[in-house]
Each structure stands twice: as structure tokens, then as C-alpha cells.
Amino acid sequence: MKNEDIKKLIPQRDPILMVDKLLEADSSKSLTSLTVRADNYFIGEDGKLEESGLIEHIAQSASAFAGYMAVEKGATEPPVGYIGEIRKFCCYHRPRVGDELVTTIIIGAEVGGVTSINGESRVQGKLMAETQMKIYIRP
């Protein structure tokens, strides 16, 4: 899986592709990564990622996890996912250019195509942001 092309797992593309790799996944948890580059769409004027970029990265991480499970079940196209709700988002620090974000997604209940997730993003173990989300996967 480490070499799985992220583009097989999520439909987003440059300039708004916000996950580099799916590092690990099992039935309830995944790890994804993103190295923040200077040309990232969400870079603020101070050279750090905007909070909205962290939100998009966490949402795409959840989408990559859903894509991985869909591909395991035989899907040929990555599913399109939308954010339905964000709750309890907290931003503690913002990553800088060159930082590698590693994000843990834990999947919760799925009701009618809407999946609840918990996400937290770290740089070298230091918590940058955490949130709960509901992600709607388009059938």
C-alpha cells in the first residue's frame, strides 16, 4: 500500500491535492502524510499553512481512507467525498514549509452514506490540529 498512487484513492488533483501518501490503513484507522511545499494552495503570507489547509488535508485524508476501502472492494474510480460537518476543530500550531504532516484518521459510525471520523495532524509528534468531521461519500 505504501506505493499505492494517491491519485487512485482520491479524486482531487493539483493545485488542491492535499495528501501525498496513505502510509497505513486497517479497518478503523489510517495514517496519511503531506509534506508542506512553498507552492501549496493554502500557504499563508507568513509561510505557514492556513487552518483551512489543515481542514482540507484532514478531509482528504479521510477521503483517501474511504478510497482505499473502496479500491479493496474492487472500485476502479476513487469515490468523491464531501465534508458534511466539522465539529470541535482546534488548531494549536500551523505547519511550515518543509514540515511533514502525519494525520491519523479514526473512522466512527456510518449512517446513510455519512461517515463520522476523528482526525489529528502532527508534525514530528507535535499536535497541530484535531477535529471531528462527517464525510459524505457520493455513491
Binding site: P11, I16, I55, Y82, F89, T131
Partner: protein, 121 residues
């Protein structure tokens, strides 16, 4: 990143009691739609959150950070075709460290986003 004149254009802004209404046009030629999604332009929720932040910054005249989002509901899909013009309605309350921000993104037809959170200076 600055979304004004890139992702959206501000058409007008006026105050209504305690709220402020920013009337914006989504720019369908924005680069973001090359990737979100190829051949299927959908406005990213994260860009709409960033738009709320930019409007709040314009109101306060200060650079703000999104410290928390208590709840943000994305109640309908936004695209520059379905809803080319939107109203961002913002209410700010001063806190010790910044502002409690309540916002809605709407047009005549629908509510697209309901947002509650805190931004710090």
C-alpha cells in the same frame, strides 16, 4: 493565499444591525477547479471557511487565526455554476483574545454553510 479576486470577488458589503453581509461572486475560472474536481467543479468547503475568515478580517481590520470551530455544517454543495453569487453573513462578538464568529453562507434559494467558532488576533 488570498482568496479575494482569486476564488471570489467582493461585489458589495453592508451592515445590517449586528451583522454584516458580504455579497460575493465565485470565480469559475479559479485554478482550484482544475483539481476539485477535474471536469466536475465543486467549491471546496475549506475555501468557503477561508472566505469567512477573510470577511471577518476585513471587518476587524486585523489578521485573524481560526483557533476553534465549534460547528460548521455544510448543508448544500456549492459550485460556481449552481450558486455563482452568494451572501456571507457575519456576526462578530468580542472576546478577550479575539472574536466569536457566527457566519452563514446563503443565496436566495438555500443555506450552504452555517459556521460557529472563535478566531484570535
Amino acid at each position: 493565499m488570498k482568496l479575494e479576486n482569486n476564488y471570489y470577488k467582493l461585489i458589495s458589503m453592508h451592515h445590517e444591525g449586528l451583522s454584516s453581509r458580504f455579497h460575493i461572486a465565485l470565480r469559475k475560472e479559479c485554478d482550484v477547479y482544475i483539481g476539485h474536481f477535474p471536469g466536475d467543479p465543486v467549491s471546496p468547503g475549506a475555501c468557503n471557511i477561508q472566505t469567512i475568515k477573510e470577511c471577518a478580517e476585513q471587518l476587524t481590520g486585523k489578521e485573524l487565526r481560526i483557533s476553534t470551530i465549534r460547528q460548521c455544517r455544510l448543508t448544500a454543495v456549492v459550485t460556481p455554476v449552481v450558486c455563482p453569487e452568494l451572501d456571507v453573513i457575519i456576526n462578530l462578538q468580542s472576546l478577550e483574545q479575539g472574536y466569536a464568529v457566527t457566519a452563514r453562507i446563503i443565496d436566495a434559494e438555500k443555506t450552504y454553510m452555517e459556521y460557529k467558532g472563535e478566531m484570535t488576533v
